[in-house]
């Protein structure tokens, strides 16, 4: 089970980066098209909207991996001074809050997606239904729920990460 969750999160991180690379390529094509508009070419239609939906998708794909890696920014200046029991309690609480808040956010995002689907709102240029953007990001957001739940189980001592998995410190 742990191999599936970690493997999936990791594959999603790669996929998100590929999406990001495609966004970059599309933007460059769009700039070239715009520059050559005298020759009958033009910018990619709706490039703005594609960048937005693509970035959201990429970020949703990146989040689970970052959390499993312990990559979020945190201040561990006093951490080693806390007694081990307190450290355990804090880790469980922090992971539980992360799971709870994310579950709440994904639920609300689903409600929002449903509303956009029913009111048929479309984007400005491409006339693309707004809910498509939500739908594209939804699977990644749900994987996030699973990954955060798994991390909570790990900190409760009910599950363990794959053998040889190394956590990294946060920072940027």
């Amino acid at each position: 089970m742990n191999n599936i969750i970690y493997g999936l999160s990791r594959a999603m991180a790669w996929f998100g980066a590929v999406v990001l690379t495609l966004i970059a390529l599309m933007s460059v094509v769009s700039i070239i098209g715009r520059a050559l508009s005298g020759f009958g070419l033009g910018p990619v239609p709706g490039d703005f909207e594609l960048v937005e939906a693509g970035t959201a998708l990429a970020v949703f794909c990146f989040l689970p991996w970052c959390h499993l890696k312990g990559g979020h920014a945190m201040v561990d200046m006093l951490w080693h001074k806390y007694p081990p029991a307190l450290q355990r309690v804090l880790t469980v609480l922090s992971d539980a809050v992360m799971f709870g808040v994310w579950l709440l956010l994904v639920w609300r995002m689903g409600v929002s997606m449903d509303e956009y689907r029913h009111n048929n709102e479309v984007s400005f240029i491409l006339q693309m239904p707004v809910w498509w953007g939500y739908a594209a990001s939804m699977p990644a957001a749900v994987v996030g729920v699973i990954a955060y739940a798994w991390r909570l189980l790990e900190s409760l001592g009910l599950a363990s990460p794959p053998v040889g998995f190394a956590m990294a410190g946060g920072g940027h």
């Binding site: 970059a24 933007s27 769009s30 937005e52 922090s94 995002m109």
Partner: protein, 438 residues
């Protein structure tokens, strides 16, 4: 409780959570949501607000520049440009006293011109320069201090992720901020070189020596860095002249550094996967903080605290410079314990209205840009001040043989140079603004 007192009380709660090692973004998110819930008095408005919270923040067009710049930095690393930049700087500076350390600063500045992140710059240049400095006999303290400080040139010299975030929060023009950051960035590099010069004259034992390079080799080394120059001119020049938007500029940067990496054979499958994972980690970290800050700042706005505070400060008749210095000192102190991005996201919505209400004898736009550059530099100092200086940790992890005590000792002259530069930029706003008045 009155919303405004609720907001005031939320600061210590937030700090406590952060010190209990709850991720910073998550702390802001939870405190912000609970606070808004209290102000609204019922859950429904909050649940409605949450419907677009995550997707709305993540699909922001202006923020899409952040992952693109991170990707650009990763590709630049794989392109092997760090090595070429260091060689070129070494060719001209290496044989002088302390020259190899100065060369490391010069190479950091060059890398900063195609990378918008300080940690990436410190990590990349550290990998190249630390072994060379050690081989030439430089003291560990000087090497670690040099690379940690040099790394900050990654955000000081445009492009810069921190400036992008500031531009979004303060609703300022990114191109103008990049232009304004240029001269202070160069000053930073020169200041660091001066520091090295002074340090090795006071204590000559700290520096090693390398023989001078013959002239033909020097020109060869310089010629090898043309792609860096080209990419910088195209990306920053294109954004500045309005040829393309900042996001498109970042896309051009990512694609061109990607091509460079591919052309130089840096894109092996394994390295590409690593680069993708670093981009993923960095992006997710930034957006988690962005998400938390969005929730927290909408709670603050709801409580009216920023407006009330700005009004109160305006009514006290403090001199504008007194307020500015107070903010700078606040950033320097908090920079020792907080990370730069969270600090900016948390404080700019409060400080910016305060500062834009003050009269420094500048136009509102000039004040905003000048303040942005000052904020950039002061939060950057936080990257190299103990105990929580991210760049120090990066260097530490790469050179385990240099003790953390030596690293701390090596970095303080650079911190001093930062403080002198901040003072100069406060006293002479023209240094920052001259690029805009041209």
């Amino acid at each position: 409780m009155e919303p405004i007192w609720l907001a005031t009380a939320s600061f210590p709660v937030l700090l406590i959570l952060i010190f209990l090692r709850v991720p910073i973004g998550l702390s802001m998110l939870v405190v912000g949501l609970l606070g808004s819930w209290q102000v609204y008095g019922s859950a429904m408005p909050l649940l409605n607000q949450m419907k677009n919270l995550a997707y709305g923040q993540f699909s922001s067009h202006s923020l899409s520049i952040v992952p693109l710049f991170l990707l650009m930095g990763q590709f630049a690393t794989l392109g092997g440009m760090s090595q070429a930049l260091f060689k070129a700087a070494e060719a001209f500076l290496g044989h002088r006293k302390g020259g190899l350390a100065m060369a490391a600063i010069g190479a950091c500045a060059g890398f900063g011109a195609i990378c918008g992140s300080s940690l990436a710059t410190a990590a990349t240049m550290g990998q190249v320069a630390l072994p060379e400095l050690k081989r030439a006999g430089y003291a560990g303290s000087l090497s670690a201090g040099t690379l940690a400080a040099g790394g900050t040139l990654g955000i000081l010299i445009p492009p810069s992720i921190v400036l992008v975030i500031y531009a979004i929060l303060a609703e300022q023009n990114i191109a103008k901020l990049f232009a304004a950051a240029f001269i202070p960035g160069i000053l930073a590099a020169l200041g660091y070189m001066l520091v090295i010069n002074i340090v090795v004259h006071v204590n000559p034992k700290l520096a090693g020596s390398v023989p001078p390079m013959p002239w033909p080799e020097r020109w060869q080394a310089v010629a090898a860095v043309w792609p860096v120059l080209l990419i910088f001119v195209v990306v920053v020049g294109g954004i500045y002249t309005g040829l393309f938007t900042p996001t498109e500029g970042a896309a051009v940067g990512a694609v061109s550094t990607g091509l460079l990496a591919w052309w130089r054979g840096g894109l092996t499958r394994r390295k590409l996967q690593e680069a993708f994972e670093s981009t993923a980690g960095g992006t997710a970290m930034v957006f988690m903080i962005v998400l938390g800050a969005a929730a927290y700042n909408s709670f603050l706005a709801l409580s009216q605290l920023p407006q009330e505070l700005a009004g109160w400060v305006g009514a006290q008749g403090f001199s504008p410079y007194m307020v500015l210095w107070a903010i700078i000192v606040f950033y320097l102190i908090f920079g020792c314990i907080m990370d730069s991005l969270s600090m900016i996201l948390l404080t700019i919505p409060i400080f910016f209205p305060m500062v834009s209400g003050l009269d420094f004898g500048l136009t509102p736009e000039e004040t905003a840009i000048w303040f942005g550059i000052l904020v950039l530099i002061t939060v950057e100092v936080g990257l190299i001040t103990p105990p929580v200086g991210m760049n120090l940790f990066v260097i530490q992890s790469m050179a385990p043989d240099i003790s953390i005590r030596d690293t701390y000792r090596g970095v303080w002259p650079f911190v001093a140079s930062d403080l002198i530069r901040v003072t100069l930029l406060v006293i002479f706003p023209a240094i920052t603004l001259v690029a805009l008045r041209l």
